[in-house]
């Protein structure tokens, strides 16, 4: 599962690159579903490095 921190500006780019369609952009931020496998592509894309994945956190 991924999580976006306070740096997130809700641009939604991460949603468009998620190969598993696991992310959704909502009013309050990015919501991650359990389809997520921590591939890290969303974090790689993020212009603000706002996304932490379990992989990146290791």
């Amino acid at each position: 599962m991924i999580e976006a921190d306070g740096k997130c500006l809700r641009c939604g780019g991460c949603v468009s690159v998620c190969p598993l369609d696991a992310l959704t952009l909502t009013e309050s931020g990015i919501v991650c579903s359990d389809k997520c496998t921590d591939c890290g592509i969303c974090a790689e894309f993020c212009p603000l490095s706002a996304i932490k994945t379990e992989k990146v956190g290791e």
Binding site: L9, C11, G12, G13, C14, V15, S16, V17, C18, P19, D21, T24, L25, I41, E44, F45, C46, P47, L48, S49
Partner: protein
């Protein structure tokens, strides 16, 4: 209860950026019953755009310039190579403008409403279910949920589009096909307020560029677009370094921060399903070289609308019938944009040395012509002069 959600329409447009408003306007002008919804409370906000619009883009859209959404007319542009050498071009009259998207997008929605479309902001599409040759959309308009049935849904819900994927069209972008962008709207900066400036270089903006687009005499959009996996820092980090190293910018103030993803490839062969079409950023309708998408979105919306109008007249909303939109869009825009993807692929292979070398040979006209096939040919001829670049030249021809 006001605002009332119609229970049944011919066309429902989801997302009211330039693509959505353009589609809504064209369908309404043809006499169809149209509902256009925007999930945000304010159409045009937040702005995720450098806000540049060329004269040729404006002509393609076929709308009148209006001072209410124009900030600055551009009398020239300069492109800098990494070593500071530059290629510039000057115009006697503006060949482009820096616009105010927050005003512009709302203006387009007003035009759609004036043409007869029902427009609802702060209204989100929760889910879509296809049933009896129609699509039922469950909506949340802030004060409760409602439902509307549409013969055709046109999805214009931006780069983060989920709707097309839910309707079976794979719009997932590869990292290489999306620019990761960050932008500051800056005030109290020392810039040339009549020209657009572009900065290239692998240290400045790997596989992309930095831009300074003036919005007033001392205000500007200053942004960066880069591409992963080529870049090793975030767009925001590149942007901070760019601003800090620029004498005219480093003492300025930041009055707005934006970021976003810009599709620069991944053009879709198919943009329709039964009772369904996708337009604009959601359909990756963007110029792959500079990332400009305002006119592409607007034209995409218009072409989709033309086919939607014919579909409603014929009473045929099948994927087969709607695929006429694929055909027309590819003929009018897609094939051109596909050629530009090749130029983009060249750019990501250029070293700083190559860029410095190119700046010696390219003219301002060459740069402007890069979006035309004659310009691409000329670039290929130029690349042939440098043995290292020969293989890239061949790919362009």
């Amino acid at each position: 209860m006001f605002p009332e959600i119609p229970s049944e329409v011919d066309i429902a447009v989801i997302g009211l950026g330039p693509a959505g408003s353009s589609a809504a306007m064209a369908c309404a002008k043809a006499g169809l019953r149209v509902l256009g919804i925007e999930k945000r409370q304010e159409i045009g906000s937040p702005c995720r755009c450098g806000e540049g619009l060329s004269r040729s883009a404006l002509e393609r859209m076929g709308i009148e310039l209006d001072e209410k959404w124009v900030n600055i007319g551009l009398y020239g542009q300069t492109v800098y190579a990494p070593n500071g050498k530059y290629v510039r071009i000057d115009f006697d009259e503006p060949k482009g403008w820096i616009i105010e998207r927050k005003v512009f997008d709302k203006h387009l929605a007003v035009l759609a409403a004036r043409a007869g479309a029902r427009i609802l902001s702060r209204t989100e599409a929760l889910d879509l279910v296809r049933e009896n040759n129609k699509i039922n959309i469950r909506l949340n308009s802030g004060n409760g949920t409602g439902e509307v049935r549409a013969k055709i849904v046109i999805a214009a819900d931006g780069v983060e589009s989920k709707i097309a994927r839910n309707m079976g069209i794979n719009t997932t972008l590869k990292l290489v096909d999306i620019a990761s962008c960050a932008q500051f709207e800056m005030a109290n900066v020392k810039i040339d307020s009549k020209r657009a400036e572009y900065y290239t270089g692998n240290e400045i903006a790997r596989a992309g560029y930095a831009w300074i687009f003036p919005k007033g005499k001392d205000t500007a959009n200053v942004g960066i677009g880069i591409r992963k996996p080529f870049a090793n820092k975030t767009a925001y980090e590149y942007l901070k370094e760019f601003v800090n190293s620029h004498p005219g910018l480093k003492n300025g103030s930041i009055v707005e921060v934006n970021c976003g993803g810009v599709p620069v490839g991944g053009l879709l062969e198919n943009m329709v399903a039964d009772n369904f079409m996708v337009v604009g950023d959601a359909a990756h309708q963007v110029n792959p070289i500079h990332g400009g998408g305002i006119a592409e979105a607007y034209v995409g919306g218009r072409i989709a609308a033309e086919v939607a109008v014919e579909a409603v007249r014929e009473g045929n909303y099948s994927k087969e019938f709607l695929s006429e939109y694929n055909k027309r869009w590819w003929k009018e825009r897609g094939n051109k944009l596909k050629k530009l993807v090749k130029v983009r692929e060249l750019v990501e292979n250029l070293t700083d040395d190559d860029l410095n070398w190119l700046a010696n040979y390219m003219t301002g006209e060459d740069l402007i012509n890069l979006t035309r096939s004659s310009g691409i040919k000329r670039l290929a001829m130029l690349l042939m002069k440098k043995p290292r670049l020969l293989k890239f030249a061949r790919k362009l021809l």
